[in-house]
């Protein structure tokens, strides 16, 4: 039994996020669990944002990868506990930075209180993934995908994506 589960983990380790192809689903915290149930193998995934359009693709990728290796699995989408960027592994954060995306800071309790950005205590600096400068500023709170915001570096002048702490 556990050999099947180990095999499934190995197979799915190949799968990367459809929109950020340098990190795997496991590293992002989207792939939550693989388990045996009376009805067969179950793979548990969780969406990043409720409207994440990549979820359908991810579900198909998981099923097809396992099927091509002869494993039949049910893919279960589980909402609770809600996904957080804190689940992204340190390795993955390094890969994001190398790819040009500033990785998210660890979320803290102040994220859970209702206040607007201008009232926030000065948060940790967001370092430019290109030149590592901390002198950066926000261009737009929304970027190319739900999980990112758009920033620019005031030193090297490059724009970059910031993976929002969430």
């Amino acid at each position: 039994m556990s050999a099947t589960i180990d095999k499934a983990w190995d197979l799915l380790e190949e799968l990367t996020d459809p929109e950020i192809p340098v990190v795997t689903l496991r590293e992002l915290g989207i792939l939550r669990d693989i388990r045996q149930s009376p009805s067969g193998l179950e793979v548990v995934i969780t969406p990043t944002y409720s409207g994440c359009p990549a979820m359908g693709q991810i579900e198909d990728d998981v099923r097809q990868t396992l099927e091509s290796a002869g494993l039949q699995a049910t893919v279960i989408t589980q909402l609770s506990p809600p996904w957080t960027t804190d689940w992204i592994t340190e390795d993955a954060k390094q890969k994001l930075r190398a790819y040009g995306i500033a990785p998210p800071h660890t979320t803290d309790s102040s994220v859970n209180t209702i206040h607007l950005s201008r009232n926030k205590p000065s948060s940790q600096p967001i370092a430019c993934p290109h030149c590592c400068s901390n002198r950066t500023s926000v261009i737009s709170q929304f970027g190319s995908t739900s999980c990112k915001a758009l920033y620019k570096c005031l030193d090297c002048r490059e724009p970059f994506d910031y993976f929002k702490p969430y």
Binding site: Y49, G51, P82, V111, I114, S117, F142
Partner: protein, 260 residues
């Protein structure tokens, strides 16, 4: 105890109607960044609506699916706040530039997300664990939307004479519709009685604090609300919802069961 299905539909209809309204800006945003922002907010809202419709469909059983609930119910069955269905042109009706007004869009979103940041927080603790799971996902999104729109309310209000004037007009136009937030409908009363809902009247003070704090920084005046209380969440809508739904539902109704 589980929340009544009609309560799930109230929450879902709010999200889908505002998602549809905001999506009208896709390709027409005043600046590229805001075009992207509104499309992203719509994506979150429609995602929340889908989760809620899926849960409602599961509990209804039979042939119900998220699609039948979104596309094959008529306007009087929708349970959204009237505030959310009003057109984006708001108080500019009759002006040459009456197609879309960004101040109306921003103020509407701000008033709604200030409410939902509080509602989702409470529902996150609901004994209806499936609803609580959706609320725990949605709360982070609503907070982010509140932050984004609150920043713009201040930028407009404390900006130029023109932007201040348009933000104040949008606020004067939309604010009376928020009275509907605080008068519990039968469905909300049932949800509360089931133990799974929220007592909206308890959230009024916290909502006022968020709104007043932002309006003070925006140098905008909070309008006095009196008179008619809209009843969209009870199925009594403005004419605008029918047009919105006609457009949103036309494809699904022209080609039932189509897949692609």
């Amino acid at each position: 105890m589980n929340a009544p299905v009609d309560y799930l539909l109230h929450l879902a209809d709010n999200a889908v109607v505002l998602g549809q309204r905001n999506a009208e800006w896709c390709g027409h945003g005043p600046i590229l960044e805001e075009d992207l922002a509104l499309a992203n907010v719509s994506l979150d809202l429609i995602g929340q609506a889908r989760l809620l419709y899926q849960l409602a469909a599961k509990r209804l059983g039979g042939d119900a699916t998220e699609d039948t609930l979104a596309y094959f119910r008529d306007d009087t069955s929708f349970r959204n706040y009237t505030l959310l269905e009003l057109p984006n042109y708001g108080p500019l009706v009759g002006y040459a530039a009456s197609d879309r007004d960004y101040a109306t869009t921003i103020v509407r979103n701000f008033l709604y997300h200030a409410l939902m940041s509080l509602v989702w927080q409470e529902l996150g603790e609901s004994p209806d664990t499936e609803l609580a799971a959706i609320a725990q996902k949605s709360i982070k999104e609503s907070r982010y939307h509140l932050e984004h729109t609150g920043d713009w309310v201040i930028r407009f209000g404390d900006g130029t004479d023109e932007s201040h004037d348009r933000a104040q007009k949008a606020l004067d136009y939309l604010f009376p519709y928020t009275a509907e937030f605080w008068v519990a409908s039968d469905v909300e009363a049932q949800a509360l009685a089931s133990g799974a809902g929220v007592d909206v009247s308890n959230l009024h003070q916290a909502w006022n604090e968020i709104v007043e704090d932002t309006l003070a920084q925006a140098t905008l005046k909070k309008p006095v609300v009196k008179g008619y209380v809209s009843q969209g969440k009870q199925g009594v809508h403005s004419e605008h919802l029918s047009y919105l739904l006609t457009e949103m539902q036309s494809l699904a109704r022209a080609h039932p069961n189509a897949t692609w």
